[in-house]
Amino acid sequence: MAEWNAFYQNEEADEEQEEGEESAVNYKVTGRDSLVFLVDASKEMFIKGEDGEPSNFDITMQCVRSVYTSKIISSHRDLVALVFYGTEKSKNPRNSFKHVYVYHDLDEPGAKRVQDVEALRGERGARLAADTMGSGEVSLGDALWCCSNLYSDIKLRLSHKRLMIFTCMDQPHGGDSTKDRQARTKAGDLKETGVVIDLMHLMKPGGFDVSLFFCDIVSPPEDESELGLQVEPCGKLDDLQKRVQAKQQKKRAMARLHTVIGMNVAVGVYANAVTARKPSAIRLYRETNEPVHSKTRTFHTQTGSLLLPSETRKVYGNRQIVMEKDEVDTIKKFYDPEIFLIGFKPMEKLKLHHHIRPSVLLYPEEQQVTGSSCVFAALLKKCTEKKVFAVCRYTPRRNYPPRFVALVPQREEVDESNVQVTPPGFNAIFLPFADDIRKLDTPQFPTASDVQVDKMKEIITKMRFKYRSDAFENPVIQQHYRNLEALALDMLAPESIEDFIMPKVEQIDRRLGPLVDEFKELVYPASYNPDSKPAAKRKTADAGGGDEKKPKVEIPEAELRAHIKNGTLGKLTVPVLKEACKQFGIRTTGTKKQELMDALIAQMAK
């Protein structure tokens, strides 16, 4: 298998990209993704479940809201639309379709839209929906036609178009064959223009029979053997969200490697997880709040003329070792992009602590080389059976030094309702080089006695829980977006977040009860206090840290007056305005932004 050799297409232009950011995908190149929610608004959707469970409409709105907010965080450039069908009233661009209500046309989701969807949730949401749209006749054909107009009205280049139908009616037209046919035709037209149609069918009494109508509407599955439809209809928000989430994220390969096992096998490389970060700030022009863009120019200090890259060279470190730019590239070049198989090792040889960066997933690219999937499937099966992983040398792109990876087989897993929870493929675990491993001086201690260990076992058993990788939200990012949301919507204070990674100390204490003291008695002598030393240290640090001092948000009077004069007071944030009110001794009962502004203007006019 000389060469899991690769012919590699680099889709990203930026070759200078940091190695660590390898997993970040450059979306600029490929155009925008789009997603249309087409939601049934007929009466049946509003029927609440027994025991007061939320209606199908309600869980759909919750789901739409969560997609909106997650898009805002993870891919705000994507376009999203929300369209209702089976409504009483109509609202669409040319008002040419009856019973179709375009609630949001295709656009980037923003704060306002999140609020709009939020308003449609729950009891009150149902009333609002009844008032604004009502429920009426159903024509899925018209609805699909209207959606195709939404797509064609977009002037941007769309790379991925998806439409999701949410309904609990397996025969939306009650058996009207003309309407059924029209819907099928329109669905066909949409599919022809590259729109992928998914059905998110919801629970209904008597069960949802996909074969009655919808099997002809939805897009054929990527994989022909499978029906492409979730066999079971969705009853729970969790399930629905999972399904929508899985579908709405367009898979993007970070790299396509024509790997060769002495023969051509094509695989795509996908990120399993990418550290989500707070987005970087953008600069706005103070006067108008419009975004500005930056340009970086390189010029000669003496002559002031612009320097082209060919007129510069590279120097390393303090001592001037000069290299030409292309020499710097040559030094980084070892192999052409490829995955080169070294051999196999038993699974137990993969060490837990040998971790240097998040893994990636390999999946065959049958469209590039026919037969790839078969080789891949065979390797996957055999590696799983024999409990081995493959050691490979991995060169993801040109002028990129190699890393070694362990390819660990991962079999497909599906849940009760046949939704894929784990995709099939090889996880590529990055292996450390000698440089990455630090030498430690390991202290040696007596090991704990059985009694001590057993007591700890009791503690552990009391604190058992089922870990799920998607259970922890990042409080830093969530807080950031809550803050932005509050500012964008002129809310008084940001919605509070729940810090999921904070230990629930009280609950833990209650659960453990006397076990803690019993354990301490077994391991610590009476005089020993594990908190003493570091605690003392921490206190002094705290006192000197000055963290308690809040940064001053005071604004000079002159600046404030200038803002009032120019009518730009609104650009100041609520906390700044509040501080300004305090500063000038204004007592405000109101806390709304406008009220604060009015109070300030009134005060300054005195």
Binding site: K28, Y68, H76, D107, P109, R157, E226, Q249, I261, N264, L284, Y285, E290, P291, S294, K295, R297, T301, L306, P309, S310, V315, Y316, G317, E327, I331, F344, K345, H353, H355, R357, S359, Q368, G371, V375, A377, K382, R393, P402, Q420, P432, A434, K439, T442, T447, T461, M463, R464, F465, D470, F472, N483, I501, P503, V516, V523, P530, R538, P551, T573
Partner: protein
């Protein structure tokens, strides 16, 4: 606090003590003399230190030298030992000195004397670690007088000793994993060359003495610090041994409000990056100060009006909204936490943590503090209990107040000589990419029995871990023993350029090339199964279908075209277009030109961008000459449109920069005398194309 600062300030000291005597230059024909190998070893030592800008100090002692230069030189004692360099931070001068002045000499010196001179050097100054590295072939008669005193002093001063010989100390003794200090005790491969046969009497006697010294310094692992020259050239672990230890992170592991255990964390594995960056300098003067980078802010209007940085404020995107959000407000409203923390959220089954969802770029090992036995026992109880229950702790980890908190798993880790917790970061919900892929359990892809059999035998033939005669598992390819080739290659090239300026870069060292290849034994064994695989699995590359030409794809690389000699073709095109050409021909030429530009652009490298700019400049000049600006303008128009989608912003910026001088330059007069060239209609086009204030001014003047 204070303690950490002290730890950071402490330096270690190392004496490189190398035998350059007569016998070191002797070698059987065809083999590299020990001297050359030893010199490479010390060069590698020094290289690593210099390029990582280590503050640790180094001295160089040579013995077997013709001259004598050392502080102990008295009454005819300690002769032919030269202190080439006193303890100081290693620098390029040291590299140059080794390259040019360390050469074979003709004396023979007692290596024990050289060791004493080296020890003497280490007595000065304050260091947290003292190391001596001794490289010799042991060919000299040694006087064992005072050996006890020497050993006593080595121990008393806490000096770590490493020996390097051209031959292995003894027959390979098996070194099973788990014994080493960092948990990677399986560090030695089986590739020791040249078994210790045919050693001279002096050498055998020398080895005995080395064994005495090393075992009395460290009964258990002393002999681990004896290496061969070739090991030292190809592997890193001996360097690691003398390197400074990672910084301690003292904290408390807490379970609920009232159970805490004092712990200390150390980075055990981390994605190591180079410390230094490449800096851009002026090509002529090689001076950094001659190059200035400046960032300007522009409005998104047609003129790209520049605004001062002071006139800008900070904002963030919230979906389609842009929210002004000052640094001060951001600081005030951001998520805050209590700082340093290692708090258990709960415990969960080991197998519910997926290896492929490990996040971050490091693993941290948590121990009890060295002097705290009670913490040691408490932590041991936790580690043992987790291990027995096959569970892990899920913890909240925060390095300090400035760093964002993480969620992670603490795994129990039990080795022969120590126990610890291994901490790895786990993903947040926001980090996950929940893709679904078509099932491979598909009739179309299901491999046949014979196909599976082919894969089976391929895997068997390529197993890197095998049992030897003694039933011991032997791993013949340990990635964690390979030095990072990127560093090795860079150091090699930097070293070369530093000591041989003006000469081309060397090729990659053979040992490094070999280290990155499949072991030859495996390559041989897998030949036949591989052939079988090829027969059993038909594969066919899919012809690329003609896809719709979209903005992005215009610039897709096309493999067939790229082999033409660009320079020449470019020249020719310019030449052809110089003659008198009709407008019909101009159109054809224009097509050739734009085609050429697209080809060049597809290479996505600045080198080619510059060529493109020349092409476009030529295009413009020719258009001006021909009095036909339509083609040029519409081409530039479409090029501009495609920029955002093709990831060629860098190129466009360069082009815009390049065009400034073009417009203001000599062309001005030319166009003035030929006002017919740009008629009014074209001017608008051009203005929107060259979003550039100076171009705009000029063109308005023309019209």
């Amino acid at each position: 606090g204070k303690r950490e600062k002290m730890a950071r300030a402490a330096k270690s000291a190392l004496v490189l003590c190398m035998d350059v005597g007569f016998s070191m230059s002797n070698s059987p024909p065809g083999e590299e003399p020990p001297f050359d190998q030893a010199k490479k070893v010390i060069q590698k030592f020094v290289q690593r230190q210099v390029f990582s800008e280590s503050k640790d100090e180094m001295a160089l002692v040579l013995f077997g030298t013709d001259a004598t230069k050392n502080p102990l030189d008295q009454d005819g004692q300690y002769q032919h030992i030269t202190v080439r360099r006193q303890l100081m931070a290693p620098d390029f001068e040291l590299l140059e000195e080794i390259e040019n002045h360390v050469r074979p000499e003709s004396q023979q010196t007692d290596w024990l004397d050289a060791l004493v001179v080296s020890m003497d050097l280490l007595q000065k100054g304050k260091y947290d670690r003292l190391n001596i590295v001794l490289l010799t072939d042991l060919s000299t008669q040694v006087s064992s007088d005072n050996l006890d005193v020497i050993i006593g002093n080595l121990g008393k001063l806490g000096i770590t000793l490493q020996f390097f010989f051209p031959f292995p100390m003894e027959e390979e003794e098996h070194n099973e994993e788990g014994g080493g200090g960092d948990g990677d005790g399986d560090r030695r491969g089986s590739s020791r060359p040249g078994v210790g046969k045919g050693l001279s009497r002096e050498q055998k006697q020398g080895l005995e003495m080395v064994r005495d010294i090393m075992l009395s310094l460290d009964e258990d692992e002393g002999l681990d610090q004896v290496y061969t020259f070739s090991e030292a050239i190809e592997q890193l672990f001996m360097f690691k041994h003398i390197e400074r230890r990672p910084m301690a992170w003292p904290c408390q592991l807490t379970i609920g409000s009232s159970l805490s255990i004092r712990i200390v964390g150390y980075k055990a594995v981390t994605d190591e990056k180079l410390k230094k960056m490449w800096i851009t300098v002026d090509a002529q003067t090689s001076k950094r100060d001659d190059v200035k980078r400046e960032t300007v802010y522009c409005l998104d209007d047609d003129n790209e009006t520049e605004v001062q940085k002071d006139d800008t404020i900070q904002g963030f995107r919230y979906g389609s909204d842009i929210v002004p959000f000052s640094k001060v407000d951001q600081e005030q409203m951001k998520y805050k936490h209590d700082g340093k923390c290692f708090a258990v959220l709960g415990f969960t089954k080991h197998d519910s943590i997926h290896r492929h969802l490990f996040m971050g770029s490091q693993t941290i090992k948590m121990f009890a503090p060295k002097d705290d036995e009670h913490a040691g026992v408490a932590l041991s109880a936790l580690i043992q209990a987790l291990d027995k229950l096959n569970m892990v702790a899920i913890v909240r980890y925060a390095y300090d107040r400035r760093c964002n908190p993480q969620v992670g798993a603490a795994f129990p880790c039990i080795k022969q000589t120590y126990e610890c917790l291994v901490y790895v970061q786990l993903p947040f919900m926001e980090d996950l990419r929940q893709f679904s892929f078509p099932s491979l359990e598909n009739k179309k892809f299901t491999p046949s029995e014979s196909q599976l059999a082919a894969v089976d035998s391929l895997i068997d033939s390529m197993m890197l871990v095998e049992e030897d005669e003694n039933g011991q598992k032997e791993d013949m390819y340990k990635v964690h023993e390979i030095p990072n080739p990127a560093f090795q290659r860079l150091f090699q090239c930097l070293h070369h350029r530093a000591v041989n300026p003006g000469t081309p870069l060397p090729t990659m060292e053979q040992w490094l090339k070999d280290a990155l290849e499949r072991p030859s034994a495996i390559s041989e064994r897998c030949q036949a199964p591989l052939e079988e695989m090829k027969r059993k699995f038909p594969l066919k590359a899919v012809e690329k279908k003609k896809e719709l030409k979209t903005g992005a794809q215009i610039f897709e690389p096309d493999a067939k075209k790229s082999k033409v000699d660009e320079e020449e073709e470019e020249f020719n095109l310019a030449k052809i277009s110089e003659g008198n050409v009709t407008s019909v021909r101009a159109r054809g030429l224009c097509q050739q030109l734009t085609h050429r530009i697209e080809q060049l652009l597809s290479n996505r490298s600045t080198h080619y961008y510059m060529k493109c700019i020349t092409c476009i400049q030529t295009f413009r000049e020719q258009s001006v000459k021909l009095g036909n600006a339509d083609l040029y303008n519409s081409y530039l128009q479409s090029l501009k449109k495609s920029i955002p989608n093709s990831g060629l912003q860098v190129f466009w910026d360069l082009l815009v920069q390049g065009m400034i001088s073009l417009f203001i330059g000599e062309e001005k007069k030319e166009v003035e005398t030929e006002p017919a060239v740009d008629d009014a209609g074209d001017v608008d086009d051009l203005v929107s194309v060259c979003l550039n204030s100076s171009a705009l001014k000029y063109l308005m003047f023309v019209s």
